[in-house]
């Protein structure tokens, strides 16, 4: 039986899920439509409410 997990979308949500599962020792396949991951959040300059850098 497989233990792998597929995640569709490499934005902030997909990245967070991937890291959580990978840290649990589960093999993750992260599929992203665009050439790089990051999604909409990578386009943001800063994030509220702390004005932290988004990347």
């Amino acid at each position: 039986m497989t233990k792998d997990i597929l995640i569709i979308g490499g934005g902030i949500a997909g990245m967070q899920s991937s890291l959580d599962l990978a840290d649990m020792g589960i093999k993750v396949h992260l599929v992203e439509k665009l050439p790089s991951i990051g999604g909409k959040m990578a386009q943001l300059d800063k994030t509220f409410p702390t004005n932290d850098c988004a990347i």
């Binding site: 569709i8 967070q16 439509k33 790089s36 386009q43 990347i55």
Partner: protein
């Protein structure tokens, strides 16, 4: 992002799409299409020499079309993986023209014009959908004149203008001013060319073009073909120089945008489009106003909204801080129309509901806080996965199991489920990860039972 790229347990399949899914929780068989990048991932070092030399310019979607990229590109500078990609729609070589400059430039010999899409079969226990959202296209609202008035931009476009790595290097240059500067550059190029041609004539006949033209017009050289050419060239030159000078004079007065207007609920809480509240836009506008004020302390911002929804930890305090320290004025009222005033300044017409008066106010730039629209690709994706969507085309979930889709073993998180901000997306993503992990560990339990 970097952690995702480096983690030994994560196989990163960027530039890929899910084509087919079969099976059930604990045992899904998935077909993934790895689209051809025409660049070998095992060789590309991401140095960018190819993109420097590539002759084809394409509007850069990552920067919302506010600048151009090349036909071979990396999505953005820090992009992971850093492997470059050839845009097959625009590449000259791939469209049958002679080029191949990138292949000649690449020292790693990574360019492969014959690369084909690859099909990958996966066997997984669970699936998480984190397909995100699309930005609502405000040109559907004719009264806001997005795309008609150049200085009316969306929040995400404004975000790129604010970004130090964006098209203006973080300066709030207005789109109309940038367009005029490009026009000036082009005119200067053509003036430079005609100047060259004129100086040849000037050398040949030993007088200035202006002096010659004066004489020519008074009929001094009736049958001189060569001088006629000179005169025609000079006449053409004048038609370019005059508008160039007037544009240059105008451009001298350009400053960065200082009077900003933010318009809330563009497409959301609007029964013509999306009745729901997109949740993050109020805070997004406040954040953009605060950052703009950090860039220029004399920047003033006016946020027009039905109400400011600052629901979240530290959000209300952030809103108040913006009002007290970042020159933000909050006006309760929905904007009826945006018109174009003098100097490409947008004029906002609105009803101030506190004073019960219809008012108009001029700004340097207007920013539309656009709705969080369901992503266009999600309908096809839901069909492939066999999960249901709600009436807006977000993934269907129930309030008591907010990350479970209608199919067991398939979970959802982030804006594919409903509009939400970054902290909420992160929380939901961890929740979906945990739900998916349960499936994995359950299969472990079943196996143990079978052995026992």
């Amino acid at each position: 992002m970097l952690d995702v790229g480096r983690h030994p347990n994560i196989e990163l399949l960027a530039y890929s799409e899910v084509e087919k899914v079969e099976g059930e929780a604990g045992n899904f068989r998935v077909t993934v299409r790895r689209k051809a990048r025409y660049v070998r991932e095992d060789r590309c070092t991401g140095c960018g020499a190819c993109a420097e030399k590539c002759p084809t310019l394409v509007p850069d979607a990552f920067n919302e079309g506010l600048r151009n990229r090349k036909a071979i590109y990396s999505l953005f500078a820090q992009g992971i993986p850093s492997t470059h990609t050839i845009d097959a729609d625009h590449c000259r070589q791939l469209n049958g023209k002679k080029c191949g400059i990138c292949a000649k430039t690449c020292q790693a010999e990574a360019i492969d014009f014959d690369q084909k899409d690859r099909i990958l079969d996966l066997n997984v226990a669970a699936i998480i959908i984190a397909a995100g959202y699309d930005v609502f296209d405000p040109s559907q609202i004719p009264e806001y004149r997005y795309r008609e008035i150049p200085n009316v931009v969306t929040a995400i476009e404004f975000e790129r203008l604010l970004s130090a790595s964006g098209p203006t290097g973080g300066h709030l240059d207005r789109p109309s001013d940038r367009a005029m500067e490009t026009e000036i550059e082009e005119l200067e190029k053509s003036v430079g060319k005609s100047q060259k041609a004129l100086s040849k004539f000037e050398e040949k006949y030993g007088e200035s073009s202006a002096a010659f033209y004066e004489k020519y017009r008074s009929g001094a050289y009736p049958n001189d073909e060569d001088r006629k050419k000179w005169a025609d060239k000079y006449a053409d030159h004048l038609t370019v120089v005059e508008p160039l000078e007037s544009l240059k004079k105008k451009a001298e007065g350009f400053t960065v945008a200082k009077r900003l207007a933010f318009i809330q609920c563009v497409g959301s809480r609007d029964f013509r489009f999306y009745p729901f509240c997109s949740g993050y836009c109020c805070m997004h506008s406040i954040k953009e106003a605060i950052i703009a004020h950090e860039h220029g302390p004399d920047t003033t911002s006016t946020i027009f909204g039905m109400d400011i929804r600052a629901v979240g930890k530290g959000f209300e305090e952030y809103k108040i801080r913006g009002g007290n320290h970042s020159n933000i004025t909050y006006i309760r009222g929905r904007v009826a129309e945006i018109m174009e005033g003098p100097d490409n300044n947008p004029v906002v017409i609105y009803e101030d509901t506190r004073e019960r008066k219809v008012k108009r106010q001029e700004f340097d730039m207007v920013i539309l806080a656009t709705a969080c629209a369901p992503s266009k690709g999600v309908v096809a994706l839901a069909r492939t996965l066999g999960v249901e969507l709600d009436s807006y085309n977000f993934l269907k979930t129930s309030p008591l199991s907010p990350v479970d889709t209608t199919t067991p073993g398939i979970f959802v998180c982030g804006c594919a489920e409903s509009p939400m901000d970054v902290p909420e997306s992160v929380a939901q993503a961890s929740s979906a990860a945990e739900r998916a992990a349960e499936i994995v560990f359950q299969t472990d339990l079943i196996k143990e039972k079978a052995v026992a």
